[in-house]
């Protein structure tokens, strides 16, 4: 496993902890244009994802990239997660991965 460049699981609220670092999150796409996607995080916050999104996006989108501010990410990897995704589960995962079980995650 490549551990040289870990990306932390985050939701909207956790993003501020990782400014300047690599994060991964899943958003519900609200709008998109050439250079960015506006998404809703799994804890209902707005996140701006910059970079070059895929030509067509599904309802849910996973992005991995650098947290630029408390509500924006410059994404390097974009992955369509389809139209059915359990946001609640993902949000709980983010909380566990940043809470008392942090040591279990890279």
């Amino acid at each position: 496993m490549d551990t040289s460049s870990p990306s932390a699981f985050v939701n909207g609220a956790l993003l501020r902890r990782y400014i300047g670092q690599k994060v991964r999150t899943v958003v519900q796409v609200i709008g998109s244009d050439m250079g960015s996607v506006v998404g809703k995080s799994t804890d209902d916050l707005q996140i701006f994802v910059k970079g070059s999104p895929p030509a067509s996006t599904t309802t849910y989108l996973e992005v991995i990239g650098i947290a630029e501010s408390e509500n924006s990410i410059r994404a390097e990897t974009w992955t369509n997660f389809g139209i059915s995704f359990d946001a609640l589960n993902y949000n709980e995962l983010c909380k566990l991965a940043n809470g008392e079980f942090k040591h279990l995650f890279i």
Partner: protein
């Protein structure tokens, strides 16, 4: 794969026809036009966009044509053929195709060269004409569709059972056996509307078809309950097992370009309602699952109507409870709702003294009072059906059932499970729960749900038995030929194999041997016992397809509904775990369950 015909293909065929049979003929792709049966053969015109020639397919292609492999307007590659003279017409030839393969599904129209060629006569010009490719034609057709006319060209009705997502075009003839109301929805992409219909063909096969937005608005008024339609140009995808309401691996989506045409003034068929009855004592396995079940029973009692306030909109809706019994000597309460409560329920109340038999299709199994049944909008009730099951039940009831003492299915289960609330998730246990509780199931079978991997299927066990095709009971080989069924008291030339097998299940806490019968074993193995037997006999040796199939089934996880009971083997009582239901894993639901467990563990620490 080639998507266009061979240029000047027909000319090539004709110029090669004089060579002797040993020479290699060029393989040529042509379009099938005007395909029709003539006796047990088929004639068509082979079209290369420039020329057409009469052609014939011998009876050996019948199955390819019936299965839709070779279709009108589709493309085929001619692999072996002869060009023969048509008797009495020395200038004209016809092509006898002895070997060919399908290359592309039907196009929307005949392929024609850009420049009009006079029919039947080869152009003398040396100029190369470009035949249109299939995709070109499809694109052009999309713009100016003339549905009715086109459908008439390709109208060859496919049985619903033959449809799959990989098929080209098809037309089905179906009756609307259920129509849902239009629903509106809102999501991130905006608002929309959706409705679905349940379609049933002559053979009783059903499929659900869904329409969104423009398609929903276009077809909502077209589809009328009980009417028969020709439908084509829908798309198929694997059905979502979680929400499946009919027995079909696929579901259909119709879009704006789909074609729906009422079959007026044609012979109507009445699809028979296919029932798949679950005995009352096996209903426990279905509690709170999304799967709808069918039940048949003798009506024991009918309640007056009640008015129940619906939670979500406070509307008062009528409800009536009836009690059904069957040969398992168990009874279950069925709640009839809405029109079924007032109309049919009243009818049942009036005839209750005669203990009518009723068959109900599509019931939800809930955990109220342990196990109870409830009608949904698409439930279908038949009073005193004219079927062998009904006759058998009636004669059992008249002869002994009436005097037998029965118990309700719910009470037995809820008392043994020691808690009133039961569902796939609330009575979830790990395998160690069985292995560490040897007394489990001592008094009566107890039911649980467990998520586990199949870890071993012993390949050399007896996995199936020869069963009667009518009643599924074990048959014995008859003296001369065929099979004798003791149950039916008759002989049949054929029998079918039904599974009864032992499988080892494993999870993080341990492992346990479970018994699985036919339906459950089919879901575990992924094919029927007959199919598996074929694999077994087709090849010998170590790594045959049979072994592979078993290996594929191993290390896949399922959600199992199991019953645990004690059975005597050689005067020793042993635990027996029987698989009563197999469902695919709903990962989101399982994750929630795990999250619940994590938070439970945290608070208990």
């Amino acid at each position: 794969m080639e998507n266009s015909v061979t240029q000047n293909g027909i000319a090539t065929v004709l110029s090669n026809q004089s060579t002797d049979s040993s020479s290699v003929r060029p393989e040529i792709v042509v379009q099938v036009v005007d395909l029709k049966p003539v006796g047990n053969r088929y004639t068509f015109n082979a079209n290369d966009g420039k020329m057409k020639i009469k052609a014939m397919l011998p009876a050996t292609f019948r199955s390819d044509i019936i299965s839709g492999k070779i279709q009108n307007l589709g493309l085929i590659r001619l692999l072996d053929y002869t060009a023969n003279d048509i008797p009495g017409k020395s200038e004209e030839k016809y092509l006898l195709v002895t070997k060919c393969e399908a290359v592309a599904p039907p196009l929307d129209a005949e392929i024609k060269a850009e420049i009009k060629a006079s029919t039947g006569i080869m152009l003398k010009s040396k100029q190369e004409f470009v035949a249109k490719s299939a995709s070109q034609i499809i694109n052009e057709q999309r713009a100016n569709a003339a549905p009715a006319a086109r459908m008439a060209i390709t109208r060859r009705v496919h049985p619903l059972v033959s449809l799959n997502p990989y098929q080209g075009s098809w037309t089905i003839k179906v009756r609307v056996t259920n129509k849902a109301v239009m629903r509106t929805y809102k999501n991130a992409r905006g608002e929309g509307c959706v409705f679905n219909v349940e379609l049933t063909d002559e053979e009783g096969t059903q499929i659900q078809a869904t329409m969104f937005n423009a398609a929903a608005r276009k077809f909502y008024d077209t589809f009328q309950m009980g009417k028969v339609y020709y439908i084509s140009r829908g798309s198929l995808k694997l059905a979502n097992k979680q929400f499946k309401t009919v027995q079909n691996d696929y579901e259909m989506t119709l879009n704006e370009n789909s074609e729906v045409e009422e079959a007026r003034s044609e012979e109507m068929f009445i699809p028979e309602t296919k029932f798949n009855f679950v005995p009352i004592d096996e209903l426990g396995a279905y509690v709170n699952q999304k799967e709808l079940i069918d039940v048949i029973g003798v009506v024991q009692s009918v309640s007056p109507t009640m008015s129940i306030r619906r939670k979500n909109d406070n509307e008062m809706i009528p409800k009536r409870d009836i009690t059904l019994a069957d040969e398992t000597k168990k009874t279950v309460v069925v709640s009839l709702w809405n029109d079924l409560a007032t109309g049919l329920g009243q009818e049942l109340l009036d005839m209750a003294d005669n203990y009518p038999i009723i068959a109900i299709k599509s019931l939800k199994v809930g955990d109220f009072q342990g196990v109870s049944l409830s009608t949904v909008s698409r439930s279908n009730v038949v009073i005193n059906p004219d079927s062998p099951e009904a006759a058998k039940l009636k004669s059992w009831y008249d002869s002994e059932g009436k005097e037998t003492s029965m118990s309700t299915i719910g009470s037995g289960i809820s008392s043994s499970a020691n808690n009133g609330s039961r569902s796939m998730y609330s009575d979830r246990v790990c395998l160690s729960h069985f292995t560490s509780n040897p007394s489990l199931g001592e008094e009566k079978p107890v039911f649980f749900s467990t998520r586990a991997y199949i870890s071993f299927i012993k390949p050399d066990q007896t996995m199936w038995y020869r069963a009667c095709k009518t009643c599924n009971k074990k048959v014995t080989e008859a003296m001369d030929s065929g099979y004798w069924c003791e149950g039916c008291q008759k002989k049949d030339e054929e029998c079918s194999l039904r599974y009864i097998m032992a499988v080892k299940a494993s999870d993080s806490t341990g492992e346990a041997w479970c018994f699985a019968f036919n339906d459950e074993a089919e879901k575990i193995i992924g094919c029927t016992a007959d199919e598996l037997n074929k694999l077994k006999s087709s090849e010998e040796g170590e790594a045959n397809e049979f072994q592979t199939k078993l290996k594929e089934a191993t290390w896949s996880s399922h959600l199992f509904r199991v019953s645990v009971s004690k059975q005597e083997y050689n005067s020793e009582k042993r635990q027996r775990i029987t698989v009563k239901g197999v469902s695919p894993i709903d990962f989101a639901a399982e994750t929630r369950l795990l999250l619940q467990d994590i938070s439970k563990n945290k608070t208990s620490q």
